[in-house]
Symmetry: C2
Subunit: 198 residues, 2 copies
């Protein structure tokens, strides 16, 4: 299982946003939607052994479960609609009990720290960092958990929390990447481990 936790610092916490302005009024939800697409889509298939957690403004987390997903399309707008549907259920999300809004998509009332604490129980947290070890020099962990941020840097508190959990600190390359591109590169690194002469 590969997991990705993506922090949306400005993401909406209510469903009353327009699908026509994801990059503006919807708090850069476009970035989070592309992260979902990068995490799940192969050319003609869905990666079933993947889970994505979108943390919305440190208040809610929307989780996408690869082996249960239906109705996921690769464009930003339709993914944003799934997030919006999940937020419609926010009154039902009580404590840390998730509520499913569509097949494979669920909402939990919790922020980044509680989400990462939970996810870290089921995997190895990898910190992506420009000063980390080059990814090709490291044996890929089983059940990796990658933590990414939207267009903002991690806050100090977020970094502290990641470092508390992180088993490894890796660099994907010399260029700083958007979160969705980092997910694509991370997948490729895991895919190619053991691939022919890789």
């Amino acid at each position: 299982m590969r997991q990705f936790v993506v922090i949306g610092h400005d993401a909406p916490t209510t469903p009353d946003f327009s699908l026509d302005d994801l990059a503006g009024a919807a708090g850069r939800l476009d970035v989070l939607c592309r992260c979902v697409t990068s995490a799940f889509f192969l050319s003609h298939a869905i990666r079933e052994d993947v889970r994505v957690h979108l943390v919305l403004a440190d208040e809610y987390t929307v989780t996408f479960e690869g082996n249960e997903l239906r109705r996921l399309n690769p464009d930003e707008r339709s993914t944003a609609a799934l997030v919006r549907n999940a937020l419609e259920e926010r009154e039902e999300a009580i404590g840390h009990v998730p509520v499913e809004s569509s097949p494979g998509v669920s909402l939990t009332r919790r922020g980044f720290a509680a989400t990462l604490d939970d996810v870290a129980r089921g995997g190895i947290v990898v910190q992506l960092h420009e000063d980390g070890d080059p990814v090709v020099d490291v044996d890929p962990p089983t059940d990796p958990v990658f933590v990414l941020s939207d267009h903002h840097e991690f806050s100090d508190a977020e970094t502290d929390h990641i470092e508390r959990h992180a088993a490894e600190r890796l660099s994907l390359g010399p260029e700083p990447l958007h979160a969705d591109h980092a997910i694509t590169v991370a997948h490729n690194y895991l895919d190619t481990d053991g691939f022919e002469r890789y």
Copy 2:
């Protein structure tokens, strides 16, 4: 200079499409828009030494020039608006003379073969293929040109044309990727050449 030629088999050739249905009525223009984003965006910068050519239904080609681009945002909708603006100028595109619709974005009246013939004069065409040599085993070409397709496979005629130009046949990994994800991986492969112990 890194160049990417992306074939949009069902892409629109007139500007009368809605930005609200890129994945449907606009012929999967969402894929082409994500290719533009993958090709140009670093975390807080644009890759200036990149050129992208979107071939629209084998009739027009919209070219994005990294070192001249303005007003490019990473979301699909705003990139689609730039394509639509380019198509507004289609009456001005006569012969193979490009017409600029916004800074760094131009439209040419030509299809895939003519575009690739032209682009191949300025770079080394790389064919991406599942049976190609693993990308990490090959020294990156100077001035590579990658050819990609939207959600459809290449036609036989397109494959023939690519093979006529291609100097190398590379595989990016064992999993078949969406075109925009392939661009991200190709960039990473080029970025990491010579990076520390890579």
